[in-house]
Symmetry: C2
Subunit: 393 residues, 2 copies
């Protein structure tokens, strides 16, 4: 079946329990889908754009109110919509990092954080993780000292992951920002896996900048996201244009340089806005989601040889497993090779794990319900049993 | 009626003939709407993303093929999707303009072109328009000479509008690029009002960079657009990351720095792709659309005192009118003041002209049919007659 010339209809989330690591928190709510249909056209939110002509001032649809609510929800002073969290990194690096400036990232920083530093011609330095795959304040302090010693400069910016994409581990952001602030280093907290899923309070974390991803964790279409900051930094990162047409004398009002003016029109902004009431509610119910994730992990751990590489018990639904000594042994002789696992899961209506993975792989169970958690748990055990893998206990 | 908590359903294009200057070319096709519904989720196009893990390499949905087709359609060598034409400007300026570099723009350059120069810390210089509101090669040559003389530097980049947003005039891009190339200045041709509406052949225009807007002229959701370039410039503007995690040794494959990695996932890329077969067809039918625009302009010009400020006869559907000596006279005494015109149009099922405008205003009739062109033309005349304005002829 196709939905348009050469494009198959996508029915992954209609037909399967989807455990894809990056897709789980981005699935649209029904309200977002309705909004997407009503506001499909690009400039649909601009019908009632009046002076001063900027996205965050539009009151119908209520984008102005949404911007204020979003800042409050994130416990920050100012928020702007951006085309993905990465464009938030870019804006902050663009405003703060000068060529040659050292910038701190972590061993788990996303590639787009590195790209934003590269684009600003900064020099990236990683803070290492400890053996439990967590970035500790001591490691941050050591690295700051070392970078200052070797480069002669204080880092211009520090990126920290609230929950990282590799292990889904929660990092001690409040402690990390405390260390950074002792050196007057501003901190960007990347909440791509938390904002919209967990209750994130930017100021309690000490974040100078907080980014969220609409399509990763706020049930919004792509590319969308949010960049929030404090009054201290807003004038810098959201500075308005000061440029002028040298012949015409044109100036460009209050358009913001690092935002490139208005950012998200149509489906992306309205989709985020329509999902927002649901997002506000769902962050309060994250404990239940974590319980389901632990239930699945426990089922997997009951298969002998299986290890969880993420912190355990889980504090987030994104989880990294190691099945080298269980499912991968089966793969060595199975006629489907490494594909037996994802194929067997698919037969049971489960998808989203990287096809062919039997060694180290990730899943994200965010958004499932009780029955689905049970079904996924049982399915892993059934598959192990069918392949003759011993179960513990 | 609302489509979600606090968000009214938008029905502008269902209920009215919409002459909004920026919305006309961005309205979704039915296929784009179907694609948007099927691919609403952010990472929906990433289900089958395999090595080397980049948007333009995904073959299901056929994004790789779409990127190639798009480059060919634009008569350029390489094309990338971007979150709006502005992000194309930003990428090119980021790659080419160094702090303090002079950059040429025109008297009609869009504010986002200025912002991209401001962000790169370049110095903007405008090429003036002639009395018919066209940027001429002579004016460009004069300004280049002057900028070189006064700054001691050759401009790093020149922006030209294919059709500008102020008058909807077509500028002699091929002649302008010829002049710029004599000074080895690369040229970015902004096709926000042409790519997807007119048949734009980048190399015939001599463009080193060609941008298009998905939500302005390619019947795609926002933010979306395209940046195309030649083999000569591709390695520079689409350069791949060279940065490395200094402790982990991580590198980031073939992600492109100025693109910030992958750009448009989900609705935006699939929407563009679904509309593309229609876009390819409709650019061949632009003459008809221009005929309708001229029909409307002629009707307006038959109202005494009315002038067209754009080039006439029209060569594009975006048109700037001056009704200071016709409709604005009525506004002075009408009980609805300046709102009488847009209100009377609305009663006739026509919308999109800035509410309250009776002096200088723009319309864009792109996408209307024969009957609608007649209805709009007749409506202006009827309104003039009802208000006692004299008609010529």
């Amino acid at each position: 079946m196709n939905c348009s010339e050469g494009i198959d209809t996508r029915q992954v989330d209609e037909l399967y329990i989807n455990l894809d690591p990056i897709q789980a928190g981005g699935r649209l709510t029904t309200d977002a889908m309705k909004a997407v249909i009503a506001y499909g056209d690009g400039y649909s939110v601009c019908d009632n754009c009046v002076k001063p002509f900027r996205l965050d001032h539009i009151s119908k649809p209520p984008l102005a109110e949404f911007h204020r609510d979003l800042a409050e929800f994130l416990n920050m002073d100012v928020a702007r919509l951006v085309p993905g969290a990465r464009r938030g990194f870019q804006a902050v690096a663009g405003a703060i990092v000068k060529p040659g400036d050292p910038v701190l990232l972590t061993a788990y920083s996303h590639y787009t954080e590195f790209l934003s530093v590269e684009q600003s011609r900064g020099m990236p330095f990683e803070i290492p993780a400890d053996e439990s795959h967590v970035i500790t304040p001591d490691a941050a302090a050591d690295r700051i000292e070392e970078v200052i010693r070797t480069t002669g400069k204080t880092p211009a910016l520090m990126f920290v992951e609230h929950v990282d994409y590799q292990y889904g581990n929660l990092h001690p952001v409040a402690d990390l920002t405390r260390v950074a602030h002792q050196y007057d280093i501003p901190v960007l907290c990347n909440g791509a896996y938390t904002v919209g899923i967990m209750d994130v309070k930017g100021k309690e974390l000490g974040a100078d900048f907080l980014t969220g991803s609409g399509h990763k964790s706020m049930a919004a279409p792509a590319p969308s996201g949010v960049l929030a900051t404090t009054d201290e930094w807003a004038d810098k990162v959201f500075r308005t244009t000061g440029v002028k047409g040298d012949l015409t004398g044109r100036t460009f009002g209050i358009k913001e340089v690092e935002m490139m003016g208005c950012t998200l029109m149509g489906v992306t902004s309205v989709g985020m806005m329509a999902s927002f009431p649901h997002v506000k509610r769902r962050v309060k119910e994250f404990d239940t989601q974590v319980r389901y994730a632990n239930q699945i992990v426990d089922a997997l751990l009951s298969i002998e040889g299986t290890k969880v590489q993420s912190g355990y018990p889980r504090m987030h639904t994104l989880t990294r497993m190691n099945t080298i000594d269980s499912f991968d042994k089966v793969a060595k002789t199975h006629k489907k090779r490494g594909f037996f696992l994802t194929s067997a899961l698919r037969e049971r209506g489960i998808t989203g794990i990287l096809a062919g993975s039997t060694r180290v792989w990730k899943f994200n169970s965010y958004g499932i319900n009780k029955e689905q958690a049970e079904h996924v748990s049982k399915s892993f055990i059934e598959i192990a049993e069918r392949e003759g893998l011993p179960l513990s206990g």
